[in-house]
Amino acid sequence: MRLIKQNIERDGSGSITLYPEEPEDMWHAYNLIQPTDLLRASAIRRVTTESSTGSTSSTRVHITLSIRVTSIDFDPQAGQLHVSGRVSEENKWVKVGAYHTLDLELQRNFTLEKSEGWDSVSLDVVKEAIKQDKEGTVPAVVMQEGLANICLITEYQTVLKQRVETGIPRKRSGRASDHDKGLSKFYQVTLETLLRHVDITQPRPLLLASPGFTAAGFQKYIIDEATRTGNKALLANKSNFVVVHSSSGHLHSLNEVLKSPEVLAKLKDTKYARETRLMDDFLTLLRKDDGRAWYGPSEVEKAVEKGAVGRGGGVLLISNALFRSQEIGTRKRWVTLVDKVKEDGGDARVLSSDHESGKRLEGLGGIAAILTFPLEDLDEEEEEGEDSVPNETEQGSII
């Protein structure tokens, strides 16, 4: 993403013009654009004109439209963003209030104006988006016998490209060859699918993860196939195929993959590796149950209030799904929280909800915090509050 023009006042009002260059930028745009924002981008609109005689003719016109956003739809697999809203600026073709869905395209500018002004989180998103030193995309195959998940780990997303599932006959006495045949068929299908989605000749790591020997077998199969077909580009790249252990072939095993030493050695301090590590740290503390790790919106809010997420190791983990809230009030609540933590000198990390670590965080309510000092019973009040609700329902059921 390139920043074309920035025009932001001190009070946060103003607009930013961005130029998306790659599909990943659409993800940033998705996190940036909120309902009620003003978005200006080029569009193709079908315009119907009626002549004096009553006959109609429709033409497609290229125009630049400004819309007041009502909803956003993001397709992570295709990397497409559809923003629909109502036209806010009249022109020759379109009236104010008419509906239009803008399909944001790569290599085409769009201008965004925030209705509530630019807050720290959205400015951070812009900063992240226009960062030039990008960590590359890493393809990974998480597999087990008969199941393979082919995905792309980008900096902000883990995109599941394709799931391969084939039946492999189990081992049965006297029919060992069935299993072998099924397995090599599975490897073949997986490789074909992988080649369709990913260029594995590029000099970048390819993660092959599985329990047992499946990944190693697949690596051997790839190299054997490359040798057989004389694919030199592939053979030259074979040192980049990293076989990693995972406990299952399901996608969430990617957690283990990303924290394994083999991967860390290759991928150093990438954002997702950092995120994964943070989540692990948090969970370790949670297991200790010493009152330094808390999750859930109200608990974390309380902890932040008490200044426990501050200088000296305080970390706020928050999923960016929370910032995509349709309600302005809710978003504001989280933005304030993030700002408070930063003020206190703590570390506020916005985890991508499209990464495995973000998904883990979402399971915990989308927000968690590592405190600098232990706090007990943050959840007590809330529990009382909740107690009253079931009591009511109980009474209702008695009646």
Binding site: E165, S173, Y295, L364
Partner: protein, 786 residues
Amino acid sequence: MSRHKLVKNLDLDDEMDDYDGGDDYADDDTEENLRLGTIRVREELPEASGHITDRQIQDALWHYYYDVDKSVAYLIKEYMAKPKKEQKKKVAGGFYLFFPTLQVHGGELSSKACSKPFSFAEFFKDTPWLNVPPERQAVFIAPLYPRGGLLGGSSDGAPKMSKLQALAAARKKKAQEQKASESSGVEKPMAGLSLNESASGPSVGSEATEPSSALKQPSRRFPLLKRKDSKPHEKSQKAPPHVEKEPETNDIPMSISPGDLDQAEPSAFASTMFNSRDRSPPKHSANLFTLPYAATATPATTDPFAGPSPDDVVTAAQSKVASGKGGKGPPKTSVEKKTDQIANGVEALKIDDTPKVTSKNLDVLKEFEQKEKKNEANFVVIGHVDAGKSTLMGRLLYDLKVVDQRTIDRYRKEAEKMGKSSFALAWVLDQGTEERTRGVTIDIAMNKFSTNKTNFTILDAPGHRDFIPNMIAGASQADFAVLVIDASTGSFESGLKGQTKEHALLVRSMGVSRIIIAVNKLDTVAWSQERFDEISQQVSAFLTSAGFLPKNVAFIPCSGLHGDNIVRKSTEPGLTSWYNGPTLVEELDNSEPITRALTRPLRITIGDIFRGGVQNPLSISGRIESGSLQTGDALLAQPAGEKCFIKALEVDSEPADWAVAGQNVTIHLSDIDPIHLKVGDVLCSPTSPIKIIKEFTAKVLAFEFLTPMQIDVHRGRLHTPGRIREIVSLLDKGSGAPTGKKRPRIVKPAQLARVIVELEAAVPLEAPARVVLRSNGATVAAGLLE
């Protein structure tokens, strides 16, 4: 003559006359039955019963439900006693129209006439319309009477008919016959015969032809014909096309007694359409041939219409077949269908439609009870990796002669080639190429052996932690477990921390309550009793804490590689000095039979999908968890929701017709695409299908810390990703009542909790299924669906 032409030529008016819409057993089948019955009854009836009409016989048959004897008895009682009265009635009915025919039969019936008074009305009794109430007939007959009389058909038997009239009548008849009869076949000559006769004996001939013309003509000329329609004779409209093809039948006429000859039964509709002709053949058969001759043979001479014509037979057969198959027959009205069913029921035809796969409709549970058989038990062999599970089982199979010496020798040779000679016995179970090259069990191996008491199925589980999903699959099929422990120095300790513990917890949480601990490799520590006791103590303490009752735990010292204390008692002095308990096999034999959920709805978790051969392109194997099944049963595959059928069935690799819960079966399926089946899917009975769910509440025992987290849910072969959405509450271990805070943040190991699990995809699961929750390669909890 083609049928089209026939149809064209048919005199529709005649047809309509003949057709009588509202009959009560109009169907061909019924009619056929009745006709056959009538023939039999006629055979049974005394000679003098000629006056009894077919109609009466048929009525009798109908009421006695085709019981010939009863019908005969009834007929004799009812009609033979008062024939005259009947006749008088009929005469009074005024069928003078047919009077002339009396003359035709005059000669031939002379002998009969001597024995009893002959009446032409009696003669015509078999014509169905004679049973019509007289008042109706009178209206119809009246206009004809004078004419018939004028033409010489008077009752005194003096036929006076002009030659011209006779000729006209003959021509007409001929024309009619040609219309209705086939140009080929024996019939034509016969038709000729009757004409010949009419020509040779004008008086007789004219008389013979008269009725037909008299009958038909008025029906066309007078509007009264409608009355005729109401006559209850049993003809259906379909009959005419069949008549044309009525050559003499060989079988039925032959069996007719001479007495029947003049009382020829009408075939399907000869009695309506060709009644004049009906009478003519008997006439010349009686005239031209001697009766005995006619009775014995020459179908041509007997009445060709005495029995069902071949066509009728064919039609009847066809309709039977058609009704049996419910297939191609002509479209039938509901009434016809009903009568069809009745007729079929009467004939006890097998009308069961053939299903795709024939089911023997066995009462499986009864069969199961009846079958004299041994106990059956499945046990899973568990333990830390390299504890010697496969080798121990290989030894057991070898010593029990399930595996022959030659195979073992071959394995030994091959294993030595690979530098793994100690793995030879394990190769009995580890048959996969990868398993052999790597020297580790990857998937469950199933083998069978039997002792005097019990048929055992071994489920040899992999010990490696990566293959615990496979081990879970095996353990879910087991009735009890054999825990193999490596007694060699250091190995036991590492094992106890590793999979020894996890496996034991897993089998316990999957409902296995009995466990045999084989303390293996004791030879490496010189059969030391201290070592054995130390291991026993530690393990039993752990097992008790895991929930095994001490009485269900047994320890056996043994050596898998050498075979001590497995099948044969050890002769090692080091061991015999302090141990003389049972061997492993003896201990296995002590297992009690397991009760099986036979009456619950059918459930099979698919353990494997494979090609069972050329004949069976799609086969699955698995253990029947509950219920029973048999060949031909329909099954529902969940979550696909696809129906399939059991083409064939194998229980323990033997073909079988049925199987019950607890058995390991291979099912060859039909009518389903393999794409709908996955390992871990459930086959169930379509009547009570298993539900597919995306979320469940479970009571779980935590082995690790539980937070709302991502997990894999395992149940047998089924495993699916999901997450703990919510920890509802902690539960008291004793009472199971909720304790402590609501919605705790975390569940510590060994705590009992109620959790809500959300799955990524809907899977077939139903309470009270036992599930195992795993995360990051470790078993974090196990529990029971609620």
